[in-house]
Amino acid sequence: MAAIAVKIRVRGLRKAFSARFGRVDALSALDLDVHDGELCVIVGPSGCGKSTLLRILAGLDDADAGEIEVGRREHGRPLTAMVFQEPSALPWMTVRANVAYGLRMQRRSTADWAPIVDRYIEKVGLTRFARAYPHQLSGGMKQRVSVARAFAADPEILLMDEPFGALDEQTRVALQDELLRLFEESGKTIVFVTHSIDEALTLGDRVLVMTPAPGRILRELRVPFPRPRRVIELRTDPEYGRRVAEIWSLLGYGHTTDAAAT
């Protein structure tokens, strides 16, 4: 196998929160490598610290200890852009201004950002709603705004914190398909956090299974499905079912007999 360029290298990451009954370790000595251009999914139970990891990578929280190295391709590009689980389109901006937000904060001129923004608005199917405000949109559309905003910002790494977790099943599948398309066209590096094993296998090149808190990476699984992928086609693949069972067993459910092989 050819040498894989490492995009993010995390070593010995620790983070604890103080709670009423004492300190709670969210992450303990977490090591993580994310490869350039891959969609790396981190899956784990609620409260395992996967959101904390993303917030630290995004610069929203500080780690207590450990190192994070990010391989930059160009200067001037932002390091990260984040898609949050809860609706995060800014209510006081139109769809277009929201999608442009990351680029505007990088002090790019309008002439510079306008075509990029319009392209991503089109890719997520919101052209007709470009001048609408978020309160006029459905939950799925708001989340499309957040996804478009993150891609338009053109960061080195895209961070996604259960972005489709609060959506209904049909909208979720539609957005997963859109994300697959955007990712496969763009060649970006994405770190995607979810508690859904289905989602992890559908989207990821690699799935990292985390332990319950304090979080560490328990196991790495390579996802064999070729790209381009489509959500519904994948689900009918017998291999898909086997992989789902494998991850379940890693999380401590079901048989472990044929799951150990990776």
Binding site: G59, M82, F84, S88, P91, R149
Partner: protein, 251 residues
């Protein structure tokens, strides 16, 4: 509102005026205290024609606008800074909590002592009244911005003035506007108080002067004018709010 209800809302004040007019003409009420609406209107028209009303109104409106600006702008700026920066909040909050509950009318003598009895003291008096509700609402506006929007700003690299412009200010605006409305209402009250206490012009002066010379009709004219001023200013602020806060869902 359904049409019958709207008609009812229009009918009650008209009916009230009609009963008042009839009662006055039949001398069922003491017209020295409650002159007929028609005679108030006729007298009011006189004050318009002589220019007396306009001269007083102009003075009051100028005082309100200058005082309001002097109070609202620092109030909004300080409130937002207190909302954003914990140490500014910690430093400022005790002073605000201590001074805010003092009735503003009680401060007027001190203000006249310091700033004299000219325009300056009126401006300062109104400004102090406006300052606190605007500050407190700007502060509350920033503090009630949902955490996720602060995270979005930080995650996309908004710092300093850019954060203020794209997150803190727009996020605080809906609550800030509640403070602006409260502040403007207070400005109306305070201008009348200041003009009753010491002034040779203004709507407050006109009302007080009418009482001194027992010109009851003019007294009512003053009340109507100050009421109209309040109504129109509320409408104007609402219009500005619709323009500046277009994202706020409206019933």
């Amino acid at each position: 509102m359904p049409r019958p209800l709207r008609l009812l809302s229009l009918a009650t004040p008209l009916a009230f005026l009609a009963v008042w007019e009839a009662a006055a003409r039949l001398h069922a009420i003491d017209v020295r205290f409650f002159p007929a609406p028609s005679s108030i209107l006729a007298d009011g028209w006189q004050t318009v024609r002589t220019g007396e009303l306009w001269a007083n109104l102009r003075v009051s409106v100028a005082r309100i606008l200058v005082g309001f600006a002097l109070g609202a702008i620092p109030g909004a700026v300080l409130g937002i800074l207190m909302g954003l920066i914990p140490w500014v909040r910690a430093a400022g909050m005790p002073l605000v909590s201590a001074v805010y509950p003092i009735p503003k009318s009680a401060i007027l003598p001190l203000i006249m002592l310091i700033f004299g009895i000219g325009e300056l003291s009126k401006w300062v008096f109104i400004a102090i009244g406006v300052f606190f509700p605007v500050l407190i609402n700007a502060l509350a506006g920033v503090l009630t911005i949902e955490r996720i929007y602060l995270d979005v700003g930080r995650a996309y690299g908004a710092r300093g003035p850019a954060f203020l412009r794209t997150i803190a200010l727009p996020g605080a605006l809906p609550v800030l506007f509640a403070g602006i409305k409260l502040g403007f209402g207070l400005a109306l009250i305070l201008v009348v108080i200041a003009e009753i206490v010491s002034s040779r012009a203004g709507i407050g002066f006109m009302i007080w002067n009418a009482w001194q010379i027992f010109d009851v009709e003019k007294l009512y004219t003053g009340l109507i004018v100050i009421g109209l001023l309040g109504y129109l200013s509320t409408e104007a602020i609402d219009a500005v709010e619709r323009l500046v806060v277009p994202w706020k869902p409206r019933a």
